[in-house]
Amino acid sequence: MKVYLSAPLLFLLAVLQVTLMAGVAVAGVRPDLVSAAVVCWALLKGPTEGAIWGLLGGLALDLLSGSPFGMHCFVLTLVGTLAGFGAALIPSEHALLVPGMSLLCTIVEQGADVWLLRRAGWPLQWGSVLVTVVVPVAVLNLLLTVALYPLMGLLHRHTAHEELDW
C-alpha cells in the first residue's frame, strides 16, 4: 500500500483511538486500535511494512498524546518489526499466530512504554502496572486483533500488488 494511503488511514485510526476508544473502556482500560492495526498489517506483509506502519501510526499517536514525543513512534516501529518477523517464522495457517503475536506484541509494547515513561520521570511501578494495565490491555488487544485481522486481510488482498514505497 502506498504511503500516501497508509498515512491517512493510520492517522484516522489514531484519531479514533483518542475519541471512540475512550468510550469502550473495560475495567478502566481501552484496547489499542493503532497497535492492533500495525500488528495485523505486519503479520500480513512482513517486518518492513510492519515497521513503516508502526512508524507512521506512532507519529500520529505522538501528535495526539501527552507522552514524551517519539515514544509511540519508536515502540510501534519495534512492534511492527517484531510482528513481521513472527509472521515470517511461524506458518501463516497456524491457529495461534494472530492471538499469540497479539499477546506478545502488546506485552512488548506496554513494557517498552513503561520503561520509556519511567526514564522520562513517571513513577510507574512494574508490578502494579502489570496487573492493572498490561494484562487487561493484552486481553482486549487480543480480541480486537482477532476481529481486525480479517478486515486487514481484505485490505491486503486489494493492495496485494502494491509494495509500500515512498
Binding site: 475512550a22 473502556a25 518492513t48 495526539l64 498524546s65 501527552g66 514525543f69 517519539g70 502494579s128 490491555v137
Partner: protein
C-alpha cells in the same frame, strides 16, 4: 523471508524511529507537535462531535422501540422525533453545563478571588495510552492558556493544564501518577498531599503525608484543596475518603480518595485562567499562578 527483501528500508525505519525518540526527548519536536495540533484539533473535534451525535441517535431509537412496533404508520414521524430528541438532549446537557458554570461564577469571589477569570472548554480527546491520564481540550495558547492553570468542573478539581498548543491543550488529570495537590480534610483540617496512584486505572487517589494522629482521617470525610503553594485555589472539592491506612510503623498515615469528578465521563471543563492565590490581598495581572 517474507517482506524482508527491502531490509535496508527496515533498518532505515528503525533508525528513524530511534532518531525521532532521541530528538523528541530534547524537546525539539514541541513546535512541530504544536503546529500539527492546529490541523489535528479540528479533525479531533469533528470526529468527537460526530461520534457523540451518532451515539445519541443510536441510543434514542432503542428507547422508542415499543412505540415503533405498536404503530408502523408513525415510523417516519418517530425517526424525525428521535433525531430531534437527540439534539434536544444535547442542548439540555449543554444548558446544564452552562448553568453549572454560572453557579460557579457566583462562587468565584469566595473561591477564586475578586478578579477570577474562568473559561469553559470541551473535551476532544483522551490520551491513547492507558498508562497516562491526560485529556485534550479545544482551547490553547490563543485563548490565553498556560501550563499549570487549574482545570475544574462544578463538582470539583479535575487537574491542571500540562502542554499548551495554539488551539488545544492537554490536561493532566488528578489521577496521573505525576500529579500532586496540596489538600486538607474538611472535618479535621488535617493537611496532606493528594497524588495519583501508580498503575491505577483512574478511579482513586492517594492522600499521603498526614500525621499519624488518630481520627484525623475517617471514611466519608471530604477532601478539599488547601491552596498551599499557590498552584490551586483553596476549598475546591477533590473527593471523598473511602479507605484509611494507618500503621504504627509508618511515619504518616494515608487515605484512598474517590475523586468527586467522574474523570472518565468528562465532556466539558472549566479552566481557571486567573485566581487570587492564598494570602494575596491585592492581586495584579502578573500574580497569576505559575507552575
Amino acid at each position: 523471508m517474507k517482506g524482508l527483501r527491502s531490509w535496508p528500508v527496515l533498518l532505515a525505519v528503525l533508525v528513524a524511529s530511534l532518531a525521532i525518540l532521541a530528538i523528541g526527548s530534547t524537546g525539539a519536536m514541541t513546535p512541530i507537535r504544536g503546529g500539527a495540533s492546529v490541523a489535528v484539533a479540528p479533525v479531533q473535534y469533528a470526529v468527537q462531535a460526530l461520534l457523540r451525535t451518532v451515539g445519541d441517535i443510536l441510543r434514542a431509537p432503542r428507547d422508542l422501540q415499543m412505540l415503533r412496533t405498536e404503530n408502523e404508520r408513525l415510523q417516519q414521524q418517530v425517526d424525525e422525533l428521535t433525531y430531534r430528541l437527540a439534539l434536544q438532549h444535547e442542548i439540555e446537557i449543554e444548558n446544564e453545563h452552562l448553568r453549572e458554570l454560572l453557579n460557579l461564577r457566583d462562587q468565584t469571589p469566595e473561591i477564586f478571588g475578586p478578579q477570577a477569570d474562568l473559561l469553559a472548554a470541551e473535551v476532544i480527546g483522551r490520551d491513547p495510552t492507558n498508562l497516562l491520564h491526560f485529556l485534550t481540550i479545544d482551547r490553547g495558547s490563543q485563548d490565553g492558556l498556560r501550563p499549570g492553570m487549574p482545570v475544574i468542573t462544578a463538582r470539583g478539581l479535575v487537574g491542571q493544564i500540562d502542554q499548551v498548543r495554539p488551539t488545544s491543550a492537554t490536561v493532566k488529570l488528578l489521577t496521573d501518577s505525576t500529579s500532586s495537590v496540596s489538600a486538607l480534610i474538611q472535618r479535621s483540617r488535617a493537611t496532606g498531599v493528594v497524588q495519583g496512584i501508580q498503575g491505577s486505572t483512574g478511579d482513586s487517589l492517594l492522600m499521603g503525608y498526614m500525621p499519624q494522629t488518630e481520627g484525623i482521617a475517617q471514611v466519608g470525610d471530604l477532601v478539599l484543596t488547601s491552596g498551599l503553594g499557590g498552584h490551586f485555589p483553596r476549598r475546591l472539592l477533590i473527593g471523598q475518603i473511602t479507605q484509611v491506612r494507618r500503621r504504627d510503623v509508618d511515619m504518616f498515615q494515608e487515605a484512598i480518595v474517590r475523586p468527586a469528578v467522574d474523570l472518565g465521563q468528562l465532556e466539558m471543563v472549566i479552566i481557571v485562567r486567573y485566581f487570587t492565590p492564598i494570602g494575596v490581598d491585592a492581586p495584579t495581572p502578573t500574580s497569576a499562578p505559575v507552575p
